[in-house]
């Protein structure tokens, strides 16, 4: 029965188009990830493509290793040396680009320095790294904690009331227990993979939601409901098969798309750097994750999110008997929180941090400081999102079953 339910979806022209669109979007995302990697050549001109990737990889591998005080001093000195060159000091942008090219091997470290030595936790100055002296290298990690504490405990700031004392303590503890020194190497593959993941996963959620919307509603649309419900299993096993088809539709297509996206991106950009901490990419993140773990979290969270979206869509389609209305559900679930987020309310944003669209953009959510206190326990948004939406998806399935099997065909 599940096989036939899936066949109903994919034998239609719209099903085939949706599948082709998904394949195109995955290829587009992989292309965006790969083409987003640039190498600035000796003339200061940007290059992309396999040769550029190879040069960047070689340059950054040359600086591989733990970012301890000695290595940071070495980078600061090298950076100072380049900053003193005529090319770096020139008013000609092209000359500046040539100087930029010399720094590509450790450019991500300079970005980390721009955050670590900023005047405030939420400040960023592109040129901060040029003002650092080697003797400041020892402050690299302590500064991360210091700036965050200042931000959390600044009583006059709008952020202060956003956290309870326990939540503040939780965040501080996360920073304090972060393993240092960070390991640095070429990790562009994982970074790009993560960076473009919200696009891939949101597209998947929309397309899978579209495909799932018809599983129940099309019985009514095609007027096949009377034969369906009058059949022996029309009010039990056949309904379960529809839910099963929804589950397998999401599971198979989601993981196939994610796997293709991952293999294409990492296959071209390289698998190296997976064991670097997430902070190499997202300096402020309080989550203790390696890059590969962050990707796993993104992929699993996205899967739970897509499954939840599809089940909600199926529930709405079963309830309203309309796939047209149901198909708008994923759009609303994705775009409504984004719209509300523009209202610039920190408290609202903290609430929005728990909505299911966050599961589709975990890479973005890993930047945020959304933590929630329940009694004496403090939970990160990630933990809550994974637990709550796994539970809700599981709970939704029997409701969906009950909703559809009790339909009357008048």
């Amino acid at each position: 029965m599940v096989k036939f339910e899936l066949k109903k979806i994919f034998s239609s022209v719209s099903g085939k188009i949706a599948l082709a669109l998904l394949a195109m979007m995955v290829l587009l995302a992989a292309w965006m990830a790969v083409s987003g990697v640039e190498w600035v050549n000796e003339q200061g001109d940007p290059e992309t493509g396999l040769a550029a990737i190879s040069k960047l990889r070689a340059a950054q591998r040359g600086w591989s290793g733990p970012l301890d005080e000695a290595r940071l001093q070495e980078i600061i000195r090298e950076n100072q040396k380049i900053s003193a060159t005529p090319e770096a000091q020139s008013k000609d942008y092209n000359q500046n680009d040539i100087a930029f090219g010399w720094r590509q091997g450790y450019r991500p470290v300079l970005d980390m320095m721009n955050y670590a030595y900023a005047s405030g936790f939420q400040e960023f100055d592109w040129y901060t790294n040029e003002r650092i002296t080697p003797d400041q290298a020892k402050d690299f990690y302590p500064n991360r904690l210091k700036l965050m504490k200042e931000w959390l405990y600044e009583e006059n700031s709008s952020v202060y009331n956003l956290f309870t004392e326990r939540e503040r303590q939780y965040l501080v503890r996360q920073y304090e227990t972060q393993e240092t020194p960070f390991y640095y190497t070429y990790a562009k593959g994982w970074e790009q993979l993560l960076y473009n993941s919200p696009f891939v996963i949101m597209v998947e959620a929309l397309i899978l939601g579209y495909l799932a919307a018809g599983i129940f509603a099309n019985e009514f649309k095609w007027k096949a409901d009377a034969v369906f419900f009058s059949a022996r299993y029309g009010r039990d096993k056949a309904v379960s098969a529809k839910i099963g088809a929804g589950f397998w539709l999401v599971t198979a297509l989601y993981w196939a798309a994610v796997l293709v996206y991952m293999l294409l991106t990492l296959g071209i950009l390289g698998f190296d750097g997976g064991s670097c901490p997430l902070q190499v990419d997202l300096w402020k993140s309080f989550y203790h994750l390696k890059l590969w773990q962050a990707w796993l979290l993104v992929a699993v969270g996205g899967y739970i999110g897509c499954l939840f979206f599809a089940f909600v869509t199926m529930f709405v389609s079963a309830k309203t008997r309309s796939s047209l209305f149901a198909v708008t559900v994923p759009f609303l679930l994705i775009f409504l929180p984004n719209f509300l987020d523009n209202l610039n309310s920190d408290k609202l944003s903290k609430f929005l941090g728990l909505l299911p669209d966050q599961l589709l953009q975990i890479y973005q959510a890993l930047r945020y400081f959304y933590v929630y206190q329940f009694g004496s326990q403090v939970c990160s948004a990630m933990t809550l999102l994974l637990i709550v939406y796994t539970f809700l998806t599981l709970v939704l399935a029997p409701f969906l079953y009950r909703e559809f099997r009790r339909k009357e065909i008048g």
Partner: protein, 295 residues
């Protein structure tokens, strides 16, 4: 094997679609005759468990069919009036899917589907997509799906609607062939469909059974006699106003009318044998013609 309907009522808000009807069905073909809106489809939808009654009961061998659930539905074959299907499925896939939700094992399903496809004359078209079939072919696929589980109760709601005359005759013959050893309940507003194949007929009007019995029994209940009279063209309107006329046939010099009347409507009127169609006209005040148009 006995399907018993007792004081069955179905209301939709203030509207009573089926009004306190009772009957018992055994093996054989039963015809449910009535104009559109008489409550035939609502009754059939209750018999197929698609809707629940407001009052009354339906039992199969003494057991409530709604409590039996799947055990009752496994005995059921149903061709709805608006026969929907999966447009991109081939005929064979469609039957295999319906067989699966009817609980047939794949090997049995394949055999049954193949047999029925041959029986309904669709074997050569088995790989065609359902959406490409003609109206008659779709109906035949519909009857094939209804027969997949060799049902003990076969319910056919307006099975010949939309078919051309030759398709309709083929279809009637097919239903006759399939009617052995089961209860077949056939609803229609086309009198001739029922006249030929139904053993017992229920005349349904405004949600109630107006009459039931065999065709001769029902015909015998009509107090009117049937007359054939040739009248000049100019007088046709007068006759139509004064009598119930079940047929008008143009003849040289005027028209031959089929008139329901206790007494001869004119001096040259010749008495005819009454048919079910005349009864239909008498009770429903409308003509139950051989076409499938709205009455």
């Amino acid at each position: 094997m006995e399907l018993t309907i007792t004081n069955l009522t179905k209301e939709f808000g203030d509207f009573r679609a089926v009004d306190n009807i009772s009957c018992t069905l055994h093996n054989g073909v039963y015809g449910l005759l009535g104009v559109n809106g008489a409550g035939k489809t609502t009754l059939m939808r209750m018999l197929t468990t698609l809707i629940t009654p407001t009052a009354g009961s339906i039992t199969w061998d003494g057991q409530d069919i709604f409590k039996m659930g799947g055990q009752y539905r496994r005995l059921l074959g149903y061709l709805p009036q608006e026969f929907g299907f999966y447009p991109d499925f081939s005929v064979e896939d469609y039957l295999m899917y319906i067989a699966s939700i009817k609980g047939l094992r794949p090997a049995v399903a394949k055999q049954r589907a193949s047999l029925l496809l041959k029986q309904v004359g669709l074997y050569k078209a088995r790989n065609k997509k359902m959406k490409t079939l003609s109206g008659g072919m779709k109906r035949r696929a519909g009857i094939a799906q209804a027969m997949l589980n060799d049902p003990k109760i076969l319910i056919l709601d307006e099975p010949t609607a939309g078919l051309d005359p030759s398709e309709r005759i083929r279809f009637r013959n097919l239903i006759s062939e399939l009617s052995e050893e089961r209860i077949v309940l056939l609803s229609t507003h086309i009198v001739s469909d029922i006249e030929y194949i139904a053993g017992e007929i229920f005349l349904m009007k405004s949600g109630e059974f107006l009459l039931s019995g065999t065709a001769p029994e029902i015909i015998a209940t009509m107090p009117q006699r049937v007359w054939s009279a040739v009248v000049p063209k100019a007088k046709i309107e007068t006759y139509l106003g004064a009598f119930q006329v079940s047929n008008i046939k143009t003849v040289p010099g005027g028209a031959e009318l089929r008139i329901l009347s206790v007494n001869p409507p004119s001096g040259n009127a010749i008495e005819q044998s009454a048919t079910l169609e005349d009864v239909f006209l008498y009770y429903f005040g409308e003509k139950g013609d051989g076409s499938d148009g709205e009455i």
